[in-house]
């Protein structure tokens, strides 16, 4: 038996109960919707990216499990003010950290996001943690399709 508290760390529980940066964004110039049909999780990401490629504002809306809500909440906090290209790099490190194949990365450089390192022990939950990320990338890429994490 894994220690379940490695998955449900306090920060995750906290963000899932009191999500930050939640709500619509008036100034948004990029947005996308994501959906996980297996558990019914829904997320929308709203972004205002300035002409220099900096994500000046980012919020989310939606409903889902603790992991997916906390992931979106922490993501928005971490990415605010970052360059789009950095965001993509961070996602790639994040994905490596939570995916259950390959080496275990340290989570270094991920800051607060390292709190999700426990997810890799729970393959069925990886999609909960990454749904908001896929949706974010979709928003940045500006494709209008809905994201789904099957």
């Amino acid at each position: 038996m894994n220690d379940i508290r490695e998955l449900y760390q306090d920060m995750i529980l906290d963000h899932s109960r009191s999500p930050r940066n939640y709500g619509p964004l008036d100034r948004e110039n990029h947005s996308a919707q994501g959906h996980n049909p297996l558990c019914g999780d829904d997320v929308s990401i709203h972004i205002y990216r300035n002409s220099a490629g900096v994500i000046e504002e980012i919020t989310f809306e939606g409903s889902g499990c603790a992991i997916s809500t906390a992931s979106a909440s922490i993501l928005t906090g971490v990415l605010k003010g970052r360059l789009e290209e950095d965001v993509r790099l961070i996602f790639s490190s994040f994905r490596k950290m939570v995916a259950d194949d390959g080496e275990v990365p340290s989570g270094e450089g991920l800051g607060k996001l390292a709190v999700f390192s426990g997810v890799r022990q729970y393959p069925a939950r990886i999609k909960c943690a990454t749904l908001c990320w896929h949706t974010l990338i979709q928003a940045l890429d500006g494709k209008m399709e809905e994201v789904s994490t099957e």
């Binding site: 038996m1 508290r5 297996l38 558990c39 019914g40």
Partner: protein, 418 residues
């Protein structure tokens, strides 16, 4: 325990529940260092050794294609394969074994009906009636049919207990109603519906009736003669049988009139490029090499059901459900979803402020397998105003101790989220 199979043969009695359990190899294992507690039989049941061995021995002893061979292995395979039809017919009290069609699953059976007689009977402006409590398998095929034909999908509503509201059937079933297709037992909240009432209302209007018996077949005796329906579909994997095999039963007269669905080998009588004639029922609906091992395993699953007996099954499962309901009702912060008047084997619930998916992961850590999700019944989830539920479902091999384990796992969920 019941000692009689439906055919009246007397059977070797099982000593007790422990013996029944011992026949399920997959239950004899530890998950996360503790004995597995499997409460997800509504998704798929575990399989007893006799089923696994029947599949195995087909591959090891008489592996061969059916129907087309003169050689010994092929004769053996064909006679075992065809020998399952009468077994299934007895199980559901169908008068004619040739009215038993082997499909992949309940889903395929419903699609078959929708795409054959459904397409020929349902025209523009006609109506198909289902219920608010259907599994997607009994919604989507009819939606697709209605869209294609310009027909209207109507829905029998349900109340806050998860019972269908049947006192307005007269206005739901009219002369425009061509098909009425409803589940026997709800996989999401466990309701056993009064399908006889629905069938008889449908018949007076001349609609064809289909019963989705996926969640009934392993729990209660199903009797097509008594029900009076035209079609009945179920899956092997939910009745202690293999995956990839299901049954569609239909009234022989209807099946005989219906056009085939899929084309290919085994479903034809003669083929020429100018003109093809079709085989008789049921073969005309079984195109291509069938799931031979699956059919043979299904036969063994029917034997298993008869060996244990529905009396035993019903008695044991209803005790389990009653006890589980009593225990769960005492858990603070737990709300049961659906309180139907007749419940079969399934209990759905939610925990205050905790998403079912999170609960599922933590419960699994306690080696208890339950399901968290929409149970392929999204419209019903919407009706209850929840995105998902936690579902525990019981089979003949479950024990009273396992209910204890479930409730203590639920307490740990609450502890994590305290």
């Amino acid at each position: 325990m019941s000692r009689r199979s439906p055919t009246g043969e007397s059977r070797v009695p099982f000593a007790d529940l422990a013996e029944v359990r011992s026949q399920f190899p997959c239950l004899q294992q530890q998950i996360h260092g503790k004995q597995l507690i499997y409460l997800d039989s509504a998704a798929t049941s575990q399989k007893p050794s006799q089923v696994i061995e029947a599949v195995d021995s087909y591959y090891r002893e008489y592996c061969s294609n059916v129907h087309r061979g003169v050689h010994t292995l092929s004769e053996r395979a064909t006679s075992r394969y065809e020998g399952v039809r009468p077994k299934v017919a007895v199980l559901i009290n169908a008068p004619d074994p040739h009215s038993v069609i082997f499909t992949r699953s309940t889903t395929e059976g419903i699609n078959l009906v929708a795409r054959t007689i459904g397409r020929s009977r349902v025209g523009e402006g006609d109506e198909v009636l289902i219920s608010a409590m259907e599994h997607h398998a009994n919604i989507v095929p009819w939606q697709m049919l209605c869209e294609e034909q310009g027909a209207i999908l109507r829905v029998i509503p349900c109340d806050e207990n998860g019972d269908l509201i049947l006192n307005d059937l007269g206005s739901l079933i009219t002369d425009r109603t061509k098909v009425v297709s409803v589940g026997y037992v709800s996989n999401a909240v466990g309701t056993r519906h009064d399908v006889k009432k629905i069938i008889s209302a449908a018949r007076t209007r001349g609609a064809i009736t289909l019963i989705d018996a996926a969640q009934a077949i392993s729990h209660i005796p199903v009797d097509v003669e008594d029900l009076g329906c035209d079609f009945l579909a179920f899956s092997g994997h939910k009745m202690y049988g293999p995956t990839g095999i299901g049954v569609l039963w239909g009234r022989k007269e209807l099946l005989d009139q219906m056009s085939p669905w899929q084309g290919g080998g085994d479903m034809i009588r003669t083929v020429s490029f100018e003109r093809t004639t079709y085989a008789d029922t049921p073969w005309k609906f079984e195109a291509g090499t069938p799931n031979i091992a699956g059919v043979i395993g299904l036969g063994a699953a029917v034997d298993f059901l008869n060996d244990v007996g529905f009396e035993t099954i019903q008695e044991h499962e209803s005790q389990l459900v009653a006890e589980a309901m009593a225990r769960l009702d005492q858990v603070e912060g737990l709300s049961i979803i659906g309180r139907p008047s007749h419940r079969i084997s399934v209990i759905s619930f939610i925990l205050d402020g905790i998403h079912p998916h999170d609960a599922g992961t933590i419960i699994d850590q306690h080696s208890v397998a339950i399901r968290a999700g929409h149970h392929c019944a999204m419209p019903l989830m919407k009706h209850f105003g929840v995105p998902a539920t936690i579902r525990a479902s019981f089979a003949v091999y479950n024990t009273h101790d396992e209910i204890e384990a479930l409730t203590s796992a639920i307490e740990s969920v609450k502890a994590v989220f305290r």
